[in-house]
């Protein structure tokens, strides 16, 4: 197991360097100049432009800029935002809990609903239930997030007035950020109604962000189950007279879970991408919105720093998923 872990870790290092090169160079290939953007529609004189470029170090050879950046990253310095002049790492750490909280809620919803739905659809293959679940999954998967979010807001916040429109908690509540997770902080604050308000603000964004992973997990679970249910050992188990629950729940499910876990691991990337739009619609102060704004401002340090940290997180999650395989299926360890 240790060797397996070390081998996986060894792959991470070149991957990380590769990502850093891509993050660093691709942004610079985008047309548009971060220095000129500082002055908006007002045009900056060439002398001033040169002066500011020099200050920011953009006049040095790109390889030197990259090595300098990498050296900074290795020491934990992700640079300073060009537009806000704040530390990239500090901003990330401040915003990330909001994204994480939303993503965790969304993936929990997707797993808790998606796996059972997929299992039942597989067992009742061809039934009305199966067809409705798969139809709903297809719709969920194809729905534009932005439109879906707005639709929910208009229905549940506008017409029915069941949920608040946007934000993380009602403006009435104002307490210090301890963990950055609103659900926990609202409980810690001890203010009456704060936790309820935080939950009510989470509902719609969670539904929106969970939609695609939910659809993917349900479809994947269904097809993995169908494959496993046709295997000889399942037939043997049935022939032995085991209860249907034991056959499906123990013999089939465990084997069907391997591709499903892979899929769940891959959803982390999908969540990050979905968070960008979800956060924009629901004014959710997370890293998705922060990254999008930075792309428009060509804020190189923020984009490359943000990309690197997110890529690092996705790599770690996938590492954990790989280790989980090992637990579920000992053959993979070797």
């Amino acid at each position: 197991m240790l060797r397996f872990l070390l081998r996986r870790l060894a792959v991470l290092i070149p991957t990380f360097i590769g990502v850093s090169i891509i993050a660093f160079s691709f942004i610079r290939m985008l047309p548009g100049d971060p220095v000129a953007l500082l002055s908006g529609e007002r045009v900056m004189s060439p002398e001033r432009h040169a002066e500011i470029s020099h200050q920011l170090g953009f006049d040095r050879p790109i390889v030197i800029q990259y090595l300098d950046y990498l050296w900074g990253v290795l020491r934990g310095d992700f640079g300073t935002s060009i537009s806000t002049k704040g530390s990239v790492l500090e901003q990330f750490l401040q915003l990330f809990p909001a994204t994480l909280e939303l993503s965790i809620c969304a993936i929990i919803v997707a797993i808790v609903l998606g796996i059972p739905a997929g299992i039942f659809a597989a067992i009742k293959r061809g039934s009305f239930f199966d067809q409705s679940v798969m139809g709903a999954a297809l719709v969920g998967y194809s729905m534009p997030i932005f439109w879906w979010g707005l639709l929910l807001i208009i229905l549940f916040s506008g017409i029915l007035q069941w949920t608040p429109v946007s934000g993380r908690i009602s403006l009435m509540f104002f307490f210090p950020q301890v963990t950055g997770f609103m659900l926990i902080d609202s409980l810690l604050s001890g203010q009456e109604g704060a936790f309820k308000s935080a939950v009510s603000h989470l509902i719609l964004p969670t539904i929106v962000l969970a939609t695609i992973p939910l659809a993917v997990i349900a479809r994947q679970t269904r097809s993995a189950m169908l494959e496993v249910l046709g295997e000889d050992y399942v037939r043997t188990a049935r022939a032995k007279g085991l209860s249907p629950f034991r056959v499906v729940g123990v013999h089939a499910l465990r084997n069907a879970m391997i591709p499903v876990i892979t899929t769940i691991g891959l959803q982390v990337g999908v969540l990050m991408a979905g968070a960008i739009l979800t956060e924009t619609i629901f004014s959710w102060p997370g890293i998705g919105k922060w990254m999008v704004d930075s792309v428009f401002r060509r804020d190189y340090p923020v984009i490359q720093g943000g990309l690197l940290i997110i890529a690092g997180i996705i790599m770690l999650v996938n590492l954990v998923v790989d280790l989980l395989y090992g637990l579920i299926n000992p053959r993979i360890r070797h």
């Binding site: 500011i52 007035q161 946007s166 619609i281």
Partner: protein, 531 residues
């Protein structure tokens, strides 16, 4: 330490909120996060709405709802006969805000003014580079470093600015957000504590609202400044709820989650007007959208060709299609709300037949050209692609083939500056300080060719008039010169002026005392909520 301070601030505010159960809280659904809280460092209007306007004051201020300047922290000023020296008499008894992160021990005086102007100006000032990449963009953009010769303290309550050349718009510049007055005492303390960065995170000034806290990308909180020299505010708390999407802002406004919002979607305005819980304030914005020909490239170097094309554009159709009527067709390069607007000028009449004949007379046949459409919506042009399509069909009627091109915004701004640019560019401008110079010289002066002057148009007659107007200090004389300059502009037609848009501000019925600023600022000084 900062975290601890914010914590303390939050606790204090929480207790204060709990204590005053009937506190009046005004919530503004702002459209973007502020870049920071030091107005000198940035150029974004939403940053100024969150910093310069609530927290700070300036020597002169824009009179509410106008572009005229009135006394602010300076009670009065005198201009020397040669027009080079401006002596400001400072208001006495003005207190800086007392917050849980700083308690001032002295009142506002000349040292604060000198500190505030030397910071962006003098490179050896310790605050000049207090954050990485500080470039004081607005201060530089308005030409202040080249304009200022010296600033002296005459006594504790008198400051004298000496300029290197005569420049009347200087007074308007002093009223702009970048010229906000900071507390030198606060700055000295931050410097001594080694926490200079805090200036950009926890602002402290003399303005109507005291900064309480900012939760990044989510909420900014202020409370009324009890010591404000302009009197106490009718509301107790001011909250900015940052809401990027216009449709979501509208839903929040409807649900009563905020009281006022900027920049509604044009398509929503009709239903907002029909909603009994809302009301709408409208004002012509201080802006213009234009189609700039490249006056250095054939055949657009000929006045007759530019004039003919101008006659072919149906501006009313653009206003109707793009703004659903929330704009007016433009005939001059400056908006009608600005002083010196020359209303006597007649616009080129929309007349495709005459346009076609004029084009033929100019010897131009089978012309095909590019029209550049901005990829983003700006207040002066909500949908440039749609406008370009209308222009395309208008030009088609007179036999001119148009290819519409567009680039990503940053690239668009950059490429459209090129002197040898191919084609006519749709772009616009929102005024900075309400001075006509800020449109006429900034956008059409010879110095701006290859830069803001997208028409690459340098006309000596026009340039002389505008330069003369800049140097004259008598407003009546300046008005006359600018009126003449507009006549030259119309005759020479470097642009097709397209529209001046209306700024529409929806708010809840209970909001009282909100005055729309022609400069596009959102200020909440004096705003109240009806019971």
């Amino acid at each position: 330490m900062i975290r601890k301070l914010t914590f303390a601030a939050a606790l204090l505010a929480a207790t204060a909120l709990a204590g005053a159960a009937n506190a009046k809280t005004f919530v503004y659904c702002s459209e973007a996060s502020p870049e920071g809280f030091d107005p000198g460092l940035y150029t974004g209007g939403n940053t100024f709405d969150a910093s310069a306007h609530p927290v700070y004051n300036r020597l002169l201020e824009f009179k509410k709802g106008t572009t005229e300047v009135e006394p602010g922290l300076a009670e009065s000023y005198e201009v020397s006969d040669d027009g080079l020296q401006y002596t400001f008499k400072l208001r006495q008894g003005v207190k800086f805000q007392t917050t849980d992160f700083f308690t001032p021990t002295r009142e506002f005086n000349a040292d604060d003014v000198i500190f505030s102007f030397e910071r962006p100006w003098k490179e050896d000032n310790p605050w000049h580079k207090y954050v990485e990449g500080a470039s004081w963009e607005y201060f530089a953009g308005m030409g202040m470093p080249e304009l200022l010769d010296k600033i002296e303290k005459v006594d504790d309550h008198t400051v004298r600015f000496t300029l290197k050349r005569k420049e009347a718009p200087f007074l308007a510049n002093v009223a702009m957000p970048f010229a906000s007055i900071l507390s030198k005492e606060y700055a000295d303390k931050l410097q001594a504590d080694g926490k200079m960065n805090q200036m950009n995170q926890m602002p402290l000034g003399t303005g109507p609202f005291t900064f309480v806290g900012y939760q990044q990308d989510a909420v900014i909180r202020y409370k009324a400044n009890p010591d404000y020299w302009g009197g106490k505010q009718p509301i107790d708390d001011l909250v900015f709820a940052i809401t990027t999407d216009a449709a979501v802002r509208y839903q929040k406004l409807k649900a009563g989650e905020c009281h006022l919002m900027p920049y509604p979607n044009a398509a929503d305005v009709a239903s907002m007007k029909a909603d009994p819980s809302l009301k709408i304030s409208e004002q012509e914005g201080l802006n213009v959208a234009y189609l700039a020909y490249n006056a250095t490239q054939a055949p657009f170097d000929k006045v007759e060709v530019r004039k003919a094309l101008n006659m072919a554009i149906n501006k009313q159709a653009i206003v109707d299609a793009v703004f659903q009527g929330a704009a007016t067709p433009a005939k001059n390069p400056i908006p009608p709300t600005m002083w010196s607007y020359n209303d006597a000028i007649e616009d080129d009449k929309y007349d495709p037949e005459a346009a076609k004949a004029a084009l033929e007379a100019a010897g131009v046949k089978d012309l095909s050209m590019k029209v550049w459409a901005m990829p983003v919506a700006r207040p002066y042009m909500l949908n440039a692609r749609r406008a370009a399509e209308l222009i395309q069909s208008d030009f088609d009627k007179i036999g001119v083939k148009v290819e519409i091109v567009s680039y990503e915004w940053a690239e668009y701004l950059d490429k459209s500056k090129a002197k040898d640019r191919d084609g006519a560019v749709i772009l616009g401008w929102t005024g900075d300080n309400g001075d006509p110079d800020n449109f006429l010289d900034t956008l059409l002066g010879c110095d701006a060719v290859g830069g803001n002057n997208r028409a690459q148009w340098c006309n000596k007659e026009f340039d002389d008039l505008v330069t003369k107007a800049k140097e004259a200090s008598d407003q009546a004389e300046r008005t006359k010169l600018y009126e003449e300059a507009q006549v030259v502009f119309k005759r020479e037609a470097p642009w097709a002026t397209l529209d001046h848009s209306l700024a529409i501000v929806p708010m809840r019925k209970e909001v009282q005392g909100f005055v729309q600023s022609p400069l596009g600022d959102f200020t909440f000084d004096g705003v109240d909520l009806a019971e």
